[in-house]
Protein backbone atom coordinates (compact mmCIF):
# COMPACT_ATOMS: atom_id res chain seq x y z
CA UNK A 1 0.00 0.00 0.00
CA UNK A 2 2.85 2.37 0.85
CA UNK A 3 4.19 1.79 -2.66
CA UNK A 4 0.83 2.87 -4.04
CA UNK A 5 0.26 -0.26 -6.04
CA UNK A 6 -3.04 -1.92 -6.75
CA UNK A 7 -3.70 -5.63 -6.71
CA UNK A 8 -6.58 -5.25 -9.14
CA UNK A 9 -5.76 -6.80 -12.50
CA UNK A 10 -7.49 -7.82 -15.68
CA UNK A 11 -8.20 -11.54 -15.72
CA UNK A 12 -9.23 -13.87 -18.50
CA UNK A 13 -10.63 -16.91 -16.78
CA UNK A 14 -13.47 -18.69 -18.46
CA UNK A 15 -14.23 -20.62 -15.30
CA UNK A 16 -15.23 -17.38 -13.63
CA UNK A 17 -16.73 -15.27 -16.40
CA UNK A 18 -17.41 -15.44 -20.13
CA UNK A 19 -15.58 -12.14 -20.71
CA UNK A 20 -12.40 -10.70 -19.18
CA UNK A 21 -12.92 -9.05 -15.81
CA UNK A 22 -11.04 -6.89 -13.35
CA UNK A 23 -10.50 -8.21 -9.85
CA UNK A 24 -7.95 -8.66 -7.12
CA UNK A 25 -7.18 -12.33 -6.60
CA UNK A 26 -4.96 -14.37 -4.37
CA UNK A 27 -2.34 -16.43 -6.15
CA UNK A 28 -3.53 -20.01 -5.68
CA UNK A 29 -0.08 -21.57 -5.89
CA UNK A 30 1.26 -19.20 -3.24
CA UNK A 31 -1.75 -19.98 -1.07
CA UNK A 32 -1.34 -23.73 -1.43
CA UNK A 33 2.35 -23.56 -0.69
CA UNK A 34 1.75 -21.59 2.46
CA UNK A 35 -1.15 -23.80 3.51
CA UNK A 36 0.83 -26.97 2.97
CA UNK A 37 3.00 -26.00 5.96
CA UNK A 38 -0.13 -26.47 8.10
CA UNK A 39 -2.04 -29.29 6.39
CA UNK A 40 -2.70 -31.06 3.09
CA UNK A 41 -4.17 -28.54 0.60
CA UNK A 42 -6.00 -31.30 -1.24
CA UNK A 43 -8.28 -31.83 1.72
CA UNK A 44 -9.35 -28.22 2.06
CA UNK A 45 -11.18 -25.86 -0.25
CA UNK A 46 -9.61 -22.61 -1.35
CA UNK A 47 -11.83 -20.67 1.01
CA UNK A 48 -10.86 -22.87 3.96
CA UNK A 49 -7.17 -22.56 3.09
CA UNK A 50 -7.45 -18.76 3.04
CA UNK A 51 -9.22 -18.60 6.38
CA UNK A 52 -6.92 -21.09 8.09
CA UNK A 53 -3.73 -19.45 6.83
CA UNK A 54 -4.94 -16.12 8.14
CA UNK A 55 -5.72 -17.51 11.58
CA UNK A 56 -2.40 -19.37 11.78
CA UNK A 57 -0.44 -16.26 10.93
CA UNK A 58 -2.29 -14.20 13.50
CA UNK A 59 -1.78 -16.83 16.19
CA UNK A 60 1.96 -16.78 15.56
CA UNK A 61 2.04 -13.22 16.88
CA UNK A 62 0.31 -13.91 20.17
CA UNK A 63 0.53 -16.14 23.20
CA UNK A 64 -3.25 -16.57 23.23
CA UNK A 65 -4.23 -20.18 22.65
CA UNK A 66 -7.30 -20.79 20.47
CA UNK A 67 -8.21 -23.90 22.45
CA UNK A 68 -9.10 -22.18 25.72
CA UNK A 69 -12.54 -22.26 27.28
CA UNK A 70 -12.56 -18.49 27.48
CA UNK A 71 -11.75 -18.11 23.79
CA UNK A 72 -14.32 -17.74 21.02
CA UNK A 73 -13.86 -17.78 17.27
CA UNK A 74 -16.05 -15.65 15.00
CA UNK A 75 -16.10 -16.22 11.23
CA UNK A 76 -17.23 -13.39 8.98
CA UNK A 77 -18.15 -14.35 5.43
CA UNK A 78 -20.84 -13.65 2.86
CA UNK A 79 -20.61 -16.74 0.66
CA UNK A 80 -17.98 -19.08 2.10
CA UNK A 81 -17.54 -22.18 -0.06
CA UNK A 82 -20.17 -21.11 -2.61
CA UNK A 83 -17.98 -22.32 -5.46
CA UNK A 84 -18.71 -25.94 -4.55
CA UNK A 85 -22.15 -25.41 -6.11
CA UNK A 86 -20.57 -24.96 -9.52
CA UNK A 87 -21.19 -28.18 -11.46
CA UNK A 88 -19.08 -27.02 -14.39
CA UNK A 89 -15.95 -27.45 -12.30
CA UNK A 90 -15.28 -30.96 -11.13
CA UNK A 91 -14.78 -30.17 -7.49
CA UNK A 92 -13.50 -32.96 -5.22
CA UNK A 93 -15.58 -31.48 -2.42
CA UNK A 94 -19.12 -32.48 -1.47
CA UNK A 95 -21.89 -29.91 -1.81
CA UNK A 96 -22.46 -30.07 1.93
CA UNK A 97 -19.24 -28.04 2.22
CA UNK A 98 -21.32 -25.00 1.25
CA UNK A 99 -23.04 -24.88 4.65
CA UNK A 100 -21.34 -22.26 6.79
CA UNK A 101 -22.06 -24.23 9.97
CA UNK A 102 -20.07 -27.03 8.34
CA UNK A 103 -17.18 -24.61 7.82
CA UNK A 104 -17.51 -23.62 11.48
CA UNK A 105 -17.25 -27.26 12.53
CA UNK A 106 -14.25 -27.77 10.29
CA UNK A 107 -12.48 -24.79 11.85
CA UNK A 108 -13.39 -26.03 15.32
CA UNK A 109 -11.80 -29.41 14.59
CA UNK A 110 -8.76 -27.90 12.87
CA UNK A 111 -7.91 -25.53 15.71
CA UNK A 112 -9.31 -27.70 18.48
CA UNK A 113 -11.54 -24.88 19.62
CA UNK A 114 -13.47 -25.28 22.83
CA UNK A 115 -16.59 -23.56 21.54
CA UNK A 116 -18.42 -23.87 18.27
CA UNK A 117 -17.47 -20.82 16.19
CA UNK A 118 -20.00 -18.05 15.75
CA UNK A 119 -20.69 -17.30 12.09
CA UNK A 120 -21.74 -13.81 11.08
CA UNK A 121 -23.10 -13.61 7.55
CA UNK A 122 -24.48 -10.14 7.07
CA UNK A 123 -23.44 -8.92 3.62
CA UNK A 124 -20.60 -6.43 3.35
CA UNK A 125 -20.74 -5.25 6.96
CA UNK A 126 -20.01 -8.77 8.26
CA UNK A 127 -16.38 -7.97 9.06
CA UNK A 128 -17.02 -4.81 11.06
CA UNK A 129 -20.05 -6.41 12.68
CA UNK A 130 -18.05 -9.49 13.71
CA UNK A 131 -15.51 -7.28 15.49
CA UNK A 132 -18.32 -5.33 17.19
CA UNK A 133 -19.95 -8.59 18.32
CA UNK A 134 -16.60 -9.96 19.50
CA UNK A 135 -16.01 -6.91 21.66
CA UNK A 136 -19.56 -7.08 23.03
CA UNK A 137 -19.11 -10.73 23.98
CA UNK A 138 -15.88 -9.94 25.82
CA UNK A 139 -17.58 -7.05 27.64
CA UNK A 140 -20.40 -9.36 28.67
CA UNK A 141 -17.85 -11.39 30.61
CA UNK A 142 -18.53 -14.59 28.67
CA UNK A 143 -15.09 -14.67 27.00
CA UNK A 144 -11.62 -13.25 27.49
CA UNK A 145 -10.43 -13.61 23.90
CA UNK A 146 -12.17 -13.53 20.55
CA UNK A 147 -10.50 -14.42 17.26
CA UNK A 148 -12.29 -12.68 14.39
CA UNK A 149 -11.55 -13.93 10.89
CA UNK A 150 -13.09 -12.64 7.68
CA UNK A 151 -12.77 -14.52 4.40
CA UNK A 152 -14.44 -14.50 0.98
CA UNK A 153 -13.55 -15.54 -2.58
CA UNK A 154 -13.90 -14.03 -6.03
CA UNK A 155 -16.24 -16.53 -7.67
CA UNK A 156 -18.31 -16.77 -10.82
CA UNK A 157 -21.31 -16.72 -8.52
CA UNK A 158 -20.51 -13.26 -7.20
CA UNK A 159 -18.98 -11.83 -10.38
CA UNK A 160 -22.02 -12.71 -12.45
CA UNK A 161 -24.32 -11.28 -9.82
CA UNK A 162 -22.60 -7.92 -9.61
CA UNK A 163 -22.43 -7.90 -13.40
CA UNK A 164 -26.19 -8.22 -13.56
CA UNK A 165 -26.28 -5.12 -11.34
CA UNK A 166 -24.04 -3.33 -13.86
CA UNK A 167 -21.96 -2.34 -10.85
CA UNK A 168 -18.52 -3.63 -11.84
CA UNK A 169 -15.83 -1.23 -12.97
CA UNK A 170 -13.86 -1.76 -16.17
CA UNK A 171 -10.52 -1.14 -14.54
CA UNK A 172 -9.40 -0.64 -10.94
CA UNK A 173 -12.10 1.11 -8.92
CA UNK A 174 -12.01 4.84 -8.14
CA UNK A 175 -13.52 5.54 -4.71
CA UNK A 176 -15.20 8.95 -4.33
CA UNK A 177 -13.90 9.98 -7.72
CA UNK A 178 -15.80 11.99 -10.33
CA UNK A 179 -15.21 9.27 -12.91
CA UNK A 180 -16.09 6.32 -10.71
CA UNK A 181 -18.14 3.65 -12.42
CA UNK A 182 -18.38 0.82 -9.96
CA UNK A 183 -16.63 -1.65 -7.75
CA UNK A 184 -13.76 -4.07 -8.22
CA UNK A 185 -14.15 -7.44 -6.57
CA UNK A 186 -11.39 -8.82 -4.40
CA UNK A 187 -10.73 -11.88 -2.29
CA UNK A 188 -8.71 -12.62 0.80
CA UNK A 189 -8.76 -13.26 4.50
CA UNK A 190 -7.90 -11.26 7.60
CA UNK A 191 -7.79 -11.94 11.31
CA UNK A 192 -8.00 -9.69 14.33
CA UNK A 193 -7.53 -11.10 17.82
CA UNK A 194 -9.43 -9.29 20.55
CA UNK A 195 -8.60 -9.76 24.19
CA UNK A 196 -9.55 -8.49 27.62
CA UNK A 197 -6.24 -9.67 29.00
CA UNK A 198 -4.11 -6.59 29.46
CA UNK A 199 -1.10 -8.67 30.42
CA UNK A 200 -0.95 -10.40 27.10
CA UNK A 201 -0.95 -7.19 25.13
CA UNK A 202 2.23 -5.24 24.57
CA UNK A 203 1.04 -2.15 26.36
CA UNK A 204 2.86 0.23 24.09
CA UNK A 205 1.30 -1.23 20.97
CA UNK A 206 -2.20 -2.08 22.01
CA UNK A 207 -5.23 -0.67 20.30
CA UNK A 208 -8.54 -0.32 22.10
CA UNK A 209 -11.87 -1.16 20.57
CA UNK A 210 -14.41 1.52 21.32
CA UNK A 211 -18.15 1.70 20.82
CA UNK A 212 -19.66 0.19 17.69
CA UNK A 213 -23.16 -0.06 16.26
CA UNK A 214 -25.10 -1.56 13.40
CA UNK A 215 -28.22 -0.07 11.89
CA UNK A 216 -30.60 -0.37 8.98
CA UNK A 217 -31.74 2.12 6.34
CA UNK A 218 -35.23 0.61 6.29
CA UNK A 219 -35.43 1.85 2.73
CA UNK A 220 -34.38 -0.58 -0.04
CA UNK A 221 -32.77 -4.00 -0.16
CA UNK A 222 -29.97 -3.05 -2.53
CA UNK A 223 -29.81 0.69 -3.03
CA UNK A 224 -28.44 2.76 -0.12
CA UNK A 225 -30.63 5.39 1.49
CA UNK A 226 -30.49 8.72 -0.35
CA UNK A 227 -30.18 10.48 3.00
CA UNK A 228 -27.63 8.04 4.39
CA UNK A 229 -30.09 7.42 7.19
CA UNK A 230 -28.86 4.10 8.55
CA UNK A 231 -25.16 4.90 8.32
CA UNK A 232 -25.75 8.30 9.93
CA UNK A 233 -27.57 6.61 12.82
CA UNK A 234 -24.74 4.13 13.35
CA UNK A 235 -22.08 6.87 13.25
CA UNK A 236 -24.09 9.19 15.47
CA UNK A 237 -24.60 6.50 18.10
CA UNK A 238 -20.85 5.75 18.05
CA UNK A 239 -19.93 9.42 18.49
CA UNK A 240 -22.46 9.85 21.29
CA UNK A 241 -20.76 7.07 23.25
CA UNK A 242 -17.27 8.55 23.19
CA UNK A 243 -15.36 11.70 24.08
CA UNK A 244 -12.68 10.96 21.55
CA UNK A 245 -12.16 13.21 18.55
CA UNK A 246 -12.02 11.25 15.31
CA UNK A 247 -8.67 11.63 13.54
CA UNK A 248 -9.40 9.45 10.52
CA UNK A 249 -12.30 7.62 8.87
CA UNK A 250 -11.84 4.39 6.95
CA UNK A 251 -14.86 4.47 4.67
CA UNK A 252 -16.57 1.64 2.85
CA UNK A 253 -15.92 3.46 -0.44
CA UNK A 254 -16.86 0.76 -2.94
CA UNK A 255 -16.71 3.30 -5.78
CA UNK A 256 -20.25 2.73 -6.96
CA UNK A 257 -22.03 6.01 -7.77
CA UNK A 258 -24.61 5.48 -5.03
CA UNK A 259 -22.55 4.10 -2.15
CA UNK A 260 -19.89 6.80 -2.16
CA UNK A 261 -22.50 9.54 -2.50
CA UNK A 262 -24.45 8.11 0.43
CA UNK A 263 -21.34 7.91 2.61
CA UNK A 264 -20.47 11.53 1.91
CA UNK A 265 -23.96 12.51 3.05
CA UNK A 266 -23.87 10.38 6.20
CA UNK A 267 -20.40 11.63 7.19
CA UNK A 268 -21.45 15.24 6.65
CA UNK A 269 -24.65 14.81 8.65
CA UNK A 270 -22.54 13.39 11.46
CA UNK A 271 -20.24 16.40 11.37
CA UNK A 272 -17.22 14.46 10.07
CA UNK A 273 -16.85 16.19 6.71
CA UNK A 274 -13.46 17.65 7.64
CA UNK A 275 -11.97 14.45 9.02
CA UNK A 276 -9.44 12.79 6.68
CA UNK A 277 -11.19 9.86 5.03
CA UNK A 278 -10.10 7.20 2.60
CA UNK A 279 -11.23 3.99 1.00
CA UNK A 280 -8.73 1.16 0.70
CA UNK A 281 -10.66 -0.72 -1.94
CA UNK A 282 -8.47 0.69 -4.68
CA UNK A 283 -5.69 -1.57 -3.35
CA UNK A 284 -7.47 -4.89 -3.04
CA UNK A 285 -10.99 -4.41 -4.29
CA UNK A 286 -14.19 -5.14 -2.41
CA UNK A 287 -13.47 -8.26 -0.40
CA UNK A 288 -17.03 -8.62 0.93
CA UNK A 289 -16.98 -10.53 4.23
CA UNK A 290 -13.26 -9.91 4.55
CA UNK A 291 -13.44 -6.16 3.95
CA UNK A 292 -14.35 -5.02 7.45
CA UNK A 293 -11.57 -7.09 8.99
CA UNK A 294 -8.68 -6.30 6.65
CA UNK A 295 -9.61 -2.64 6.42
CA UNK A 296 -9.71 -2.45 10.21
CA UNK A 297 -6.30 -4.13 10.35
CA UNK A 298 -4.96 -1.65 7.80
CA UNK A 299 -6.44 1.21 9.81
CA UNK A 300 -4.77 -0.08 12.95
CA UNK A 301 -1.42 -0.33 11.19
CA UNK A 302 -1.87 3.16 9.79
CA UNK A 303 -2.66 4.38 13.29
CA UNK A 304 0.43 2.68 14.75
CA UNK A 305 2.66 4.30 12.12
CA UNK A 306 0.78 7.61 12.18
CA UNK A 307 0.29 7.36 8.46
CA UNK A 308 -2.77 8.44 6.48
CA UNK A 309 -2.93 6.22 3.39
CA UNK A 310 -3.78 7.58 -0.04
CA UNK A 311 -7.13 6.66 -1.59
CA UNK A 312 -5.78 4.76 -4.56
CA UNK A 313 -7.88 5.40 -7.66
CA UNK A 314 -9.09 8.79 -6.44
CA UNK A 315 -8.25 11.96 -8.40
CA UNK A 316 -11.05 14.45 -8.17
CA UNK A 317 -13.94 14.56 -5.73
CA UNK A 318 -17.15 13.31 -7.29
CA UNK A 319 -19.66 13.37 -4.46
CA UNK A 320 -22.06 16.21 -3.67
CA UNK A 321 -20.81 16.61 -0.09
CA UNK A 322 -17.12 17.53 -0.13
CA UNK A 323 -15.62 15.21 2.47
CA UNK A 324 -11.86 15.28 3.11
CA UNK A 325 -10.67 12.42 0.90
CA UNK A 326 -7.01 11.59 1.51
CA UNK A 327 -5.26 11.94 -1.84
CA UNK A 328 -1.65 11.46 -0.79
CA UNK A 329 -0.03 9.21 1.76
CA UNK A 330 1.26 11.45 4.54
CA UNK A 331 2.31 11.43 8.15
CA UNK A 332 -0.23 12.56 10.67
CA UNK A 333 -0.85 11.85 14.34
CA UNK A 334 -3.69 9.34 14.45
CA UNK A 335 -5.00 8.48 17.90
CA UNK A 336 -8.44 7.33 16.83
CA UNK A 337 -10.14 6.08 13.71
CA UNK A 338 -13.66 5.19 12.73
CA UNK A 339 -14.33 2.20 10.49
CA UNK A 340 -17.65 2.32 8.67
CA UNK A 341 -19.36 -0.07 6.29
CA UNK A 342 -22.63 -0.56 4.45
CA UNK A 343 -24.17 -3.48 2.63
CA UNK A 344 -27.04 -5.09 0.77
CA UNK A 345 -30.14 -5.36 2.88
CA UNK A 346 -29.75 -1.75 3.98
CA UNK A 347 -27.32 -2.66 6.75
CA UNK A 348 -24.62 -0.34 8.11
CA UNK A 349 -21.96 -0.51 10.79
CA UNK A 350 -19.66 1.90 12.56
CA UNK A 351 -16.80 1.10 14.97
CA UNK A 352 -14.26 3.19 16.82
CA UNK A 353 -10.62 2.16 17.37
CA UNK A 354 -8.24 4.19 19.53
CA UNK A 355 -4.77 4.11 21.04
Amino acid sequence: MKAGETGIRLWKDDCLAPVPFWASRVDSSVLERRFSTFANPEEFTRFEQLAICSVQEALQNTSIKPTGERTLFILSTTKGNIDVLDRNISSPFDESRVYLWNTAQLLQRFFNLHHRPVVVSNACISGVLAIIIGSRLIRSGQYDHVIVTGADLVTEFVLSGFNSFLSLCAGPCKPFDKERQGLSLGEGAGTLILTADRDSILAKDSIEIGPGFSSNDANHISGPSRTGEGLYIAIRRTLEKTDHIIDYVSAHGTATPYNDEMESIALTRAGLQHVPVNSLKGYWGHTLGTAGVIESVAGIQGMRHNLLINTLGFNQIGVTHPIAVINKTKESTINTFLKIASGFGGCNASLLFYK
Binding site: R87, Y99, N122, S140, S164, N216, A218, I221
Partner: protein, 214 residues
Protein backbone atom coordinates in the same frame (compact mmCIF):
# COMPACT_ATOMS: atom_id res chain seq x y z
CA UNK B 1 -23.72 -10.05 34.28
CA UNK B 2 -26.69 -7.87 35.08
CA UNK B 3 -29.70 -9.74 36.29
CA UNK B 4 -32.31 -7.93 34.26
CA UNK B 5 -35.44 -9.68 33.19
CA UNK B 6 -37.01 -9.12 29.84
CA UNK B 7 -40.17 -10.60 28.39
CA UNK B 8 -41.27 -12.62 25.42
CA UNK B 9 -44.26 -10.54 24.47
CA UNK B 10 -45.38 -12.79 21.67
CA UNK B 11 -44.13 -15.53 19.38
CA UNK B 12 -45.00 -17.04 16.03
CA UNK B 13 -44.24 -20.49 14.60
CA UNK B 14 -44.58 -21.30 10.90
CA UNK B 15 -43.92 -24.95 10.10
CA UNK B 16 -45.63 -28.00 8.63
CA UNK B 17 -48.23 -25.87 6.84
CA UNK B 18 -49.41 -24.49 10.16
CA UNK B 19 -49.11 -21.11 11.80
CA UNK B 20 -49.23 -20.71 15.56
CA UNK B 21 -49.16 -17.39 17.35
CA UNK B 22 -48.81 -17.10 21.11
CA UNK B 23 -50.29 -20.54 21.67
CA UNK B 24 -53.20 -20.32 19.24
CA UNK B 25 -53.42 -21.80 15.75
CA UNK B 26 -53.74 -18.86 13.40
CA UNK B 27 -53.83 -20.60 10.03
CA UNK B 28 -53.61 -24.03 8.49
CA UNK B 29 -52.93 -24.62 4.82
CA UNK B 30 -52.95 -27.61 2.50
CA UNK B 31 -50.17 -26.63 0.16
CA UNK B 32 -46.96 -28.57 0.71
CA UNK B 33 -44.80 -26.32 -1.42
CA UNK B 34 -43.62 -23.27 0.54
CA UNK B 35 -44.40 -20.77 -2.23
CA UNK B 36 -48.04 -21.79 -2.36
CA UNK B 37 -48.43 -22.11 1.38
CA UNK B 38 -46.93 -18.64 1.90
CA UNK B 39 -49.23 -17.21 -0.78
CA UNK B 40 -52.19 -18.68 1.08
CA UNK B 41 -50.99 -17.24 4.39
CA UNK B 42 -50.39 -13.83 2.79
CA UNK B 43 -53.95 -13.83 1.51
CA UNK B 44 -55.34 -15.03 4.83
CA UNK B 45 -53.59 -12.22 6.68
CA UNK B 46 -55.08 -9.66 4.29
CA UNK B 47 -51.72 -7.98 3.79
CA UNK B 48 -51.43 -5.40 1.04
CA UNK B 49 -47.75 -5.33 0.15
CA UNK B 50 -47.02 -5.92 -3.55
CA UNK B 51 -43.26 -6.24 -2.90
CA UNK B 52 -44.05 -9.54 -1.19
CA UNK B 53 -44.33 -11.23 -4.56
CA UNK B 54 -40.79 -10.27 -5.48
CA UNK B 55 -39.30 -11.88 -2.40
CA UNK B 56 -37.64 -15.25 -2.38
CA UNK B 57 -39.11 -17.99 -0.17
CA UNK B 58 -36.75 -17.32 2.74
CA UNK B 59 -37.78 -13.67 2.84
CA UNK B 60 -41.45 -14.53 2.49
CA UNK B 61 -41.17 -16.79 5.54
CA UNK B 62 -39.44 -14.14 7.63
CA UNK B 63 -41.70 -11.36 6.38
CA UNK B 64 -44.88 -13.27 7.20
CA UNK B 65 -43.69 -14.28 10.68
CA UNK B 66 -42.77 -10.67 11.44
CA UNK B 67 -46.05 -9.45 9.97
CA UNK B 68 -47.96 -11.69 12.33
CA UNK B 69 -46.01 -10.42 15.32
CA UNK B 70 -45.90 -6.76 14.42
CA UNK B 71 -48.77 -6.14 12.05
CA UNK B 72 -51.14 -4.75 14.61
CA UNK B 73 -48.78 -3.63 17.30
CA UNK B 74 -47.58 -0.39 15.77
CA UNK B 75 -44.11 -1.13 17.04
CA UNK B 76 -42.61 2.11 15.89
CA UNK B 77 -45.03 4.06 18.01
CA UNK B 78 -43.99 2.28 21.15
CA UNK B 79 -40.25 2.73 20.76
CA UNK B 80 -37.89 4.98 18.87
CA UNK B 81 -37.22 3.52 15.41
CA UNK B 82 -33.54 3.03 16.14
CA UNK B 83 -34.36 1.15 19.34
CA UNK B 84 -35.92 -1.75 17.44
CA UNK B 85 -33.59 -4.60 16.57
CA UNK B 86 -33.61 -7.90 14.68
CA UNK B 87 -31.44 -10.94 15.39
CA UNK B 88 -31.93 -13.98 13.18
CA UNK B 89 -30.30 -17.39 12.84
CA UNK B 90 -30.51 -20.17 10.30
CA UNK B 91 -28.55 -23.12 8.93
CA UNK B 92 -28.89 -22.86 5.16
CA UNK B 93 -28.23 -19.13 4.82
CA UNK B 94 -29.71 -18.18 1.44
CA UNK B 95 -28.91 -21.53 -0.17
CA UNK B 96 -32.37 -21.91 -1.69
CA UNK B 97 -31.88 -18.80 -3.83
CA UNK B 98 -28.16 -19.48 -4.25
CA UNK B 99 -29.11 -22.61 -6.18
CA UNK B 100 -31.41 -20.57 -8.43
CA UNK B 101 -28.68 -18.09 -9.16
CA UNK B 102 -26.19 -20.87 -9.84
CA UNK B 103 -28.64 -22.40 -12.32
CA UNK B 104 -28.93 -19.14 -14.21
CA UNK B 105 -25.18 -19.08 -14.83
CA UNK B 106 -24.61 -22.77 -15.39
CA UNK B 107 -25.01 -22.75 -19.14
CA UNK B 108 -22.81 -20.33 -21.08
CA UNK B 109 -25.15 -20.48 -24.07
CA UNK B 110 -28.06 -19.30 -21.91
CA UNK B 111 -26.21 -17.04 -19.49
CA UNK B 112 -28.69 -14.67 -17.87
CA UNK B 113 -27.94 -13.91 -14.24
CA UNK B 114 -30.88 -12.03 -12.79
CA UNK B 115 -30.38 -9.07 -10.43
CA UNK B 116 -33.68 -9.75 -8.66
CA UNK B 117 -32.46 -13.29 -7.88
CA UNK B 118 -28.90 -12.31 -7.00
CA UNK B 119 -29.98 -9.70 -4.47
CA UNK B 120 -31.57 -12.50 -2.43
CA UNK B 121 -28.37 -14.54 -2.28
CA UNK B 122 -27.62 -13.08 1.14
CA UNK B 123 -29.39 -14.30 4.27
CA UNK B 124 -29.58 -10.86 5.85
CA UNK B 125 -31.88 -9.58 3.10
CA UNK B 126 -34.76 -11.02 5.11
CA UNK B 127 -33.73 -8.63 7.89
CA UNK B 128 -33.77 -5.83 5.32
CA UNK B 129 -37.27 -6.69 4.15
CA UNK B 130 -38.59 -6.71 7.75
CA UNK B 131 -36.85 -3.42 8.52
CA UNK B 132 -38.32 -1.76 5.42
CA UNK B 133 -41.81 -2.96 6.22
CA UNK B 134 -41.77 -2.02 9.90
CA UNK B 135 -39.36 0.91 9.80
CA UNK B 136 -36.72 -0.67 12.04
CA UNK B 137 -33.50 1.39 11.96
CA UNK B 138 -31.75 -0.31 14.86
CA UNK B 139 -29.27 -3.09 15.54
CA UNK B 140 -29.47 -6.26 13.48
CA UNK B 141 -27.38 -9.35 12.77
CA UNK B 142 -27.73 -12.60 10.87
CA UNK B 143 -25.96 -15.61 12.35
CA UNK B 144 -25.49 -19.12 10.95
CA UNK B 145 -25.88 -22.17 13.21
CA UNK B 146 -26.48 -25.83 12.37
CA UNK B 147 -29.51 -25.99 14.66
CA UNK B 148 -31.60 -23.60 16.68
CA UNK B 149 -29.62 -22.73 19.79
CA UNK B 150 -31.75 -21.10 22.47
CA UNK B 151 -28.77 -20.27 24.65
CA UNK B 152 -26.86 -18.45 21.92
CA UNK B 153 -29.92 -16.48 20.91
CA UNK B 154 -30.67 -15.65 24.53
CA UNK B 155 -27.11 -14.56 25.39
CA UNK B 156 -26.72 -12.26 22.46
CA UNK B 157 -30.15 -10.66 22.58
CA UNK B 158 -29.94 -10.25 26.35
CA UNK B 159 -26.71 -8.37 25.94
CA UNK B 160 -28.30 -6.03 23.42
CA UNK B 161 -30.90 -5.21 26.06
CA UNK B 162 -28.41 -5.01 28.94
CA UNK B 163 -26.32 -2.47 27.05
CA UNK B 164 -29.45 -0.54 26.13
CA UNK B 165 -28.75 -1.09 22.44
CA UNK B 166 -32.36 -2.07 21.77
CA UNK B 167 -35.69 -1.50 23.48
CA UNK B 168 -37.41 -4.29 21.59
CA UNK B 169 -36.13 -7.09 19.43
CA UNK B 170 -37.47 -9.53 16.89
CA UNK B 171 -35.35 -12.64 17.30
CA UNK B 172 -35.53 -16.18 16.02
CA UNK B 173 -34.88 -18.93 13.54
CA UNK B 174 -35.83 -18.41 9.90
CA UNK B 175 -34.77 -21.42 7.90
CA UNK B 176 -35.73 -22.49 4.40
CA UNK B 177 -34.07 -25.05 2.18
CA UNK B 178 -35.98 -26.35 -0.83
CA UNK B 179 -39.34 -27.54 0.44
CA UNK B 180 -38.30 -27.62 4.07
CA UNK B 181 -38.99 -24.55 6.15
CA UNK B 182 -39.01 -23.68 9.80
CA UNK B 183 -39.83 -20.23 11.11
CA UNK B 184 -39.90 -19.33 14.79
CA UNK B 185 -39.88 -15.68 15.78
CA UNK B 186 -40.00 -14.15 19.23
CA UNK B 187 -40.92 -10.58 20.07
CA UNK B 188 -38.78 -9.64 23.03
CA UNK B 189 -39.24 -6.44 24.98
CA UNK B 190 -37.86 -4.55 27.90
CA UNK B 191 -41.09 -4.78 29.87
CA UNK B 192 -42.24 -6.60 32.96
CA UNK B 193 -43.17 -10.16 32.02
CA UNK B 194 -46.08 -10.39 34.48
CA UNK B 195 -47.86 -7.42 33.02
CA UNK B 196 -47.21 -7.53 29.33
CA UNK B 197 -45.48 -10.68 28.30
CA UNK B 198 -46.30 -14.26 27.66
CA UNK B 199 -43.20 -15.37 29.52
CA UNK B 200 -39.88 -14.32 30.93
CA UNK B 201 -37.22 -14.12 28.26
CA UNK B 202 -34.96 -17.01 29.21
CA UNK B 203 -33.38 -19.96 27.35
CA UNK B 204 -35.66 -22.63 28.80
CA UNK B 205 -38.77 -20.81 27.64
CA UNK B 206 -37.28 -20.16 24.20
CA UNK B 207 -36.53 -23.88 23.82
CA UNK B 208 -39.94 -24.87 25.06
CA UNK B 209 -41.67 -22.64 22.54
CA UNK B 210 -39.39 -23.73 19.72
CA UNK B 211 -39.97 -27.41 20.42
CA UNK B 212 -43.74 -27.17 20.54
CA UNK B 213 -45.39 -29.97 18.67
CA UNK B 214 -47.14 -28.74 15.53
Amino acid sequence: MMDNKYSIRDYCIIRNQKVVQGGKVLFEGNEMLPAFFFAGLYKHLGVNYPKFHKMDNLCKLGFLAAEILLGNKKMNHRYSPDGSGIVLFNAASSLDTDRNHQLSIHDRSAYFPSPSVFVYTLANIVIGEICIRHKFFGESTFFIEEKFDALRLFSYVKQLFDEDLVKCCIAGWIELNGNQYDGVLYLVEKTTPDIDGIAIFEPGKLSEIYSQRS
